[in-house]
């Protein structure tokens, strides 16, 4: 008898546990039973750092709710997790994601897998999207996503650094991005700065969460080899790595601790820095008179830089498509776009908002970005898209950097080892090597 009761007890407890967790632990259901109240799931690889998330949730989504009455569950997610989850949902047909925000490349990939709705028929009133972005968003006649934000990576200069310019390079060269503003000039400048101040004054976000890999594949690689990955193990690449190792002597060694360059610039630990516009915005804002934003230097093959376009897309068979569209409508309104620029430093994708940039710190930022895009020798790179393998692409560049520049391994050996791996990634996903 005893064991019967004991067993029953076990069973009851297990069931109880299961029920409790079933109620609270399951997917956040959007129970449409009681009222009209819906919650839409918005998964985003953008605006993930804490302060940016706080802005989305405390300001954007609050205002959106006031206007439309729709609740939004904003889920920050890494690109590879997003790809995995979207794939699982599209394959099982149980789609819970209503809206995804990701970079052009990622959305392009999702579209190639037929995971996205065609947004062609729909219109948004009172705004004109910048035509370049519009063109990117239309793939094979299908409107894959709505351009939402754009950004790039630039250099920030503390004006004091102009006193130590190398011979032959003028402040104007740097500000406008002329021929003379090249990677050799940067090396000379950084060297001068170190010799004059006793401290290395150049900084990169090479910390664990920094975006140095973007500098590697989107800036210095195209500048030296003409491509992001195609010439990964070419002789030009070896030359590039040798250059970077030499440059690194004049880079503040605390770089490997920095995730964003805004703070080190503000604290005066470096006078020259490269980073994402959103991550240097706070320095410009705090001291707009002290800093200028300038184009990146050029290399033998041109001035490589990344153009970041983030878009909003609706997954196929998403449960709340109309509500998701309303959110897209809200997020691309000129007023919202200006708000995004002011708060998190991402640039508008609609013309009405571009004209409305207020003077002051943001103008400093905008001028630098415009100067960079206007350089005649631009080699524009888009961040490639590899689905759930996306992490392996950036990992390869970071590994190469660590082994060659930080550990001092022979560049040729390392690129010969990693090059085939990178190329294999693109072949596996059936894509052209950028």
């Amino acid at each position: 008898m005893s064991r019967k009761i004991g067993f029953a007890g076990v069973l009851v407890l297990v069931l109880l546990g299961a029920i409790v967790s079933g109620c609270i632990g399951g997917e956040e259901t959007t129970s449409p039973t009681t009222t009209e109240q819906v919650t839409i799931n918005w998964l985003s690889t953008q605006l993930n750092p804490p302060e940016e998330r706080a802005f989305v949730q405390e300001q954007l989504l609050k205002e959106f709710k006031d206007q439309s009455g729709i609740d939004v569950n904003f889920v920050p997610i890494s690109y590879s997790d997003l790809a995995t989850r979207l794939e699982a949902e599209e394959q099982t047909g149980e789609v819970t994601i209503d809206l995804v925000a990701d970079l052009h490349g990622g959305l392009d990939f999702f579209n190639s897998q037929a995971w996205l709705e065609d947004l062609s028929g729909k219109t948004l009133e009172g705004r004109t999207f910048i035509s370049t972005f519009e063109k990117y968003a239309t793939i094979d006649g299908k409107k894959v996503y709505i351009p939402w934000m754009s950004a790039t990576y630039v250099m920030v200069v503390n004006k004091k650094a102009f006193d130590y310019l190398p011979a032959g390079l003028t402040q104007d060269d740097v500000m406008k991005g002329t021929e003379k503003w090249d990677y050799n000039a940067l090396l000379e400048w950084a060297k001068n700065l170190k010799e004059a101040t006793g401290q290395p004054q150049l900084g990169f976000p090479a910390g664990p969460k920094g975006l140095l890999h973007r500098f590697l594949h989107g800036y210095i690689y195209p500048s030296f080899t003409g491509y992001q990955a195609k010439n990964f193990d070419s002789p030009e690449a070896v030359q590039m790595w040798n250059y970077l190792s030499e440059l690194w002597q004049y880079v503040n060694p605390a770089s490997t601790t920095w995730d964003a360059m805004g703070e080190p610039l503000l604290r005066g630990e470096v006078m020259l820095a490269w980073d994402h516009t959103a991550r240097i915005k706070n320095a410009i804002e705090s001291n707009p008179d002290q800093f200028v934003v300038v184009p990146v230097p050029r290399g033998p093959k041109g001035r490589g830089f990344i153009l970041v376009v983030a878009g909003l897309a609706i997954p196929k068979n998403a449960p709340h498509q109309d509500e998701a569209w309303k959110l897209i409508d809200y997020l691309t309104k000129p007023e919202t776009q200006v708000k995004i620029l002011e708060n998190v430093g991402f640039f508008p994708t609609v013309q009405e908002a571009t004209g409305a940039i207020p003077s002051g710190p943001l103008k400093v930022l905008a001028e630098g970005v415009t100067a960079q895009s206007a350089t005649p020798d631009a080699v524009v790179a888009m961040i490639p898209n590899l689905g759930e393998k996306g992490g392996q692409f950036t990992d390869a560049y970071r590994t190469a950097f660590q082994r060659i520049v930080l550990k001092g391994e022979d560049p040729e050996t390392v690129v010969k080892e990693l090059g085939p791996q990178i190329k294999a990634l693109f072949q596996e996903m059936g894509q052209e090597i950028p």
């Binding site: 076990v10 609270i24 632990g25």
Partner: protein, 277 residues
Amino acid sequence: MNEETKFILKKLVFYAFIFTVVAWIVIPIIISTLYGFALPKDYYDPKKILPTSFTIKYVKTLLITLGALDGIKNSVIVALITIAISFALGIPAGYAVAKFIFPGKDTIKLSIVALRMFPIPVMAIPLVILYIRLHLIDTLLGVALAHTAMSLPFVVLITSSIFAGVSKELEEAAMVFGLTRLGSFFKITLPLALPGLAAAAMFTFVMSWNEVFVASILTLAHRTLPAQILSIMAGASGGAAPDYYKFAAAFIMILPAITFIFFARKYLVTMWGITLK
């Protein structure tokens, strides 16, 4: 130096030692709490060792906007389910080990001791594939099931040692007076073991509450507190968290821990003594 000064000196050295030890534990906690509420300008001011102006902004943002409050809720749910299941499975086993003599008992006890050592958290890696198939991925039940596996050997060992402590004579007397074995368990053994079991529940709670590897691997949206904090501070999606968010997070994580140990301190030392012996 006479005996008396020697004595006083000895005492002084001893108290200096105790003071150092306590300071070593307590100062980091005080500092991180102060920094958790400090304004960034104070934190970045090299002249200010201790901040003087404070804000609750970052703690609030973390709790409400960034979902630490949900993380706390999830952690509590996971811990409670873990306690429920591991007690349901562990108490009978602990009782059997304590009160019965049977062939193979030593082997079973030894295997439970050995299983306690097995890196069950790491086993969450291969578990992911099964969880995806069973739709347990990203559910609190899924995390709790894995946490149960991790805490079950401890629960068996603790409960067996608690039941062994309940005197046989009392139980036998009860059975002489006509109680069945099960009756004597519920009327005599269980009430006597209750304080010990409560402490064991606390132990299980803390284990599950602090676990981060399993929770980070098995969940994405429904994260427990440590997993939530880890993903905000160092996750693939988060990252680039300014320092003052890190301190606010530290405060949110240590406050429950310190409160908890204050109330449970009587049991904890014995409990850890038993389980880790």
